[in-house]
């Protein structure tokens, strides 16, 4: 192996490629290990990283939508509330069902979702449908729902999302063949114009992942890969600032609807 410390020209060349990111694979690893051993190699790399980082500063300006600042502000307020207050809006609903430890994020206290057996969830689904029949209400919706469930292809996933009073509010189906997630509003809930509903996948571990933001239509289709729903035990819908919030930060508003996601047996 060439001793880079004796070849300043070569060192400079490698350091610039390293910092640009075009030095890859074995050459990159060799350079990194030399940088760990020789401060002069490390210095060359840092110098080029610093120089090229200026490329970030040379891009043109574009004004972001004013909503972005509003979302940042709300996210900060939510973080602040998380640190200060004992009861947060986002946690209020789960608290009503089962007291959660104050230090837990709301999704961590949703064990009851994960514990729900498939059979139980199916029973719920059935009860929702027949319950409406008994009341002789919404027969049109029920017929529509049943037709939709029949039309669901094999191995599809379904979820009925309920509100705090266990009223079905949203029917979610996933069609893996078309990578399509369909949401149908079945309640009368309508968010205010400055708010949006956002759908979240709750995996068995880790935080919620955003699956998309709902528009105001009764029926909504979102593109989603099966990987997005396969390991998911539950779905939840939170009320967010209009346009939704980034997935990485998790929900910032209250959870309005939630339910177990079940894979329909063939």
């Amino acid at each position: 192996m060439v001793d880079l410390t004796r070849h300043p020209e070569l060192l400079d060349r490698l350091a610039s490629s390293y910092a640009l990111g075009t030095l890859r694979a074995g050459a990159r690893r060799r350079f990194e290990s030399m940088a760990r051993e020789h401060p002069s190699v490390r210095v060359a790399a840092l110098l080029w990283q610093t120089r090229l980082a200026s490329l970030n500063e040379l891009q043109g300006q574009q004004a972001p939508d004013p909503q972005v600042w509003q979302r940042i502000e709300r996210a900060l307020q939510a973080q602040q509330a998380e640190q200060d207050g004992p009861v947060q809006p986002a946690r209020a609903m789960t608290r009503a069902r089962k007291p959660a430890r104050a230090t837990e994020p709301w999704w961590a206290s949703l064990g009851w979702w994960r514990g729900a057996a498939v059979a139980g969830a199916c029973a719920t689904l059935l009860a929702v449908v027949t319950g409406w029949n008994l009341h002789g209400q919404r027969s049109a919706e029920v017929a529509q729902l049943q037709a939709q469930l029949r039309a669901v292809p094999q191995d599809a996933y379904v979820a009925v999302l309920q509100d705090a009073k266990s009223t079905a509010s949203m029917l979610v189906t996933f069609d893996p063949r078309n990578n399509r997630l369909t949401l149908q509003r079945v309640g009368n809930y309508q968010e205010s114009p400055d708010r949006s509903l956002q759908l979240w996948a709750i995996p068995p571990s880790g935080g919620p992942r955003s699956l998309g933001v709902l528009d105001r239509d009764k029926l909504l289709r979102l593109a989603a890969g099966e990987a997005n729903v396969r390991d998911v035990s539950a779905l939840a819908i939170s009320l967010e600032p209009r346009g939704g919030v980034p997935s990485a930060g998790g929900p910032t508003g209250p959870v309005l609807f939630s339910g177990t996601l079940i894979q329909k047996l063939p």
């Binding site: 400079d12 060349r13 610039s16 490629s17 640009l20 990111g21 075009t22 890859r24 110098l47 610093t50 120089r51 090229l52 980082a53 200026s54 490329l55 970030n56 500063e57 040379l58 891009q59 043109g60 300006q61 574009q62 004004a63 972001p64 939508d65 909503q67 972005v68 600042w69 979302r71 940042i72 996210a75 900060l76 973080q79 890969g225 990987a227 997005n228 919030v245 980034p246 997935s247 990485a248 930060g249």
Partner: protein, 215 residues
Amino acid sequence: MSAFSAAGAKTRGFGFTHNPAMPLPSQQSQDNELIDLLDRISRRDAPAFKQLYDLCSAKLFGLAIRVVDNRSWAEEVLQEAFLVIWRTAPAYRASLSPPMAWMGLIVRSRGLDFLRRRATERGHLTQTLDDTMADSMAHDVPSPMDTAQASELAWALHQCLRQLENRQREVVSLAYVRDLSHSELAAQLQLPLGTIKTWIRRGLEQLRTCMARFA
């Protein structure tokens, strides 16, 4: 230095005759203003945070768009980046970087993270060239470089980049901002791998010679 100044003076548009090795007074005072704001933010000063956003969001949003090439994704990236800035402002001084360079790195890394997450979710990359870049590559017209709010060091790089051929500059810039390998660049730009390698090598070679003057 004389050859360099002559090249700079000939280039139209910028009216830039100042020796870039010396900071412009306005750049310095702007850096100081941003540093002051970051200090206040590290003491959880919310109005300072809003001021920083007002001063820097357009610049950083432009970068976010360049990285992810989609306005609404760039908004997510910008939002995440500012939350990171709020959280990590206490670490700013230790970075020993100009404030805009520090924030630019945060935005780029959030943007690249965003693209990686999407690639994992979708199983493939759907990234394409933005219009400006496509135009620059197709017609060899320079895409605009914006030196507003750029740090002293960025002025130096800007001077050196201006000496590259437009396409070389674009490829170097794209490789860095989007963290692309030779073959990824070749695929995105639909150019032979050998061409990409040559442009990058020559571009970097020229930058090395030019930047040596500023070391």
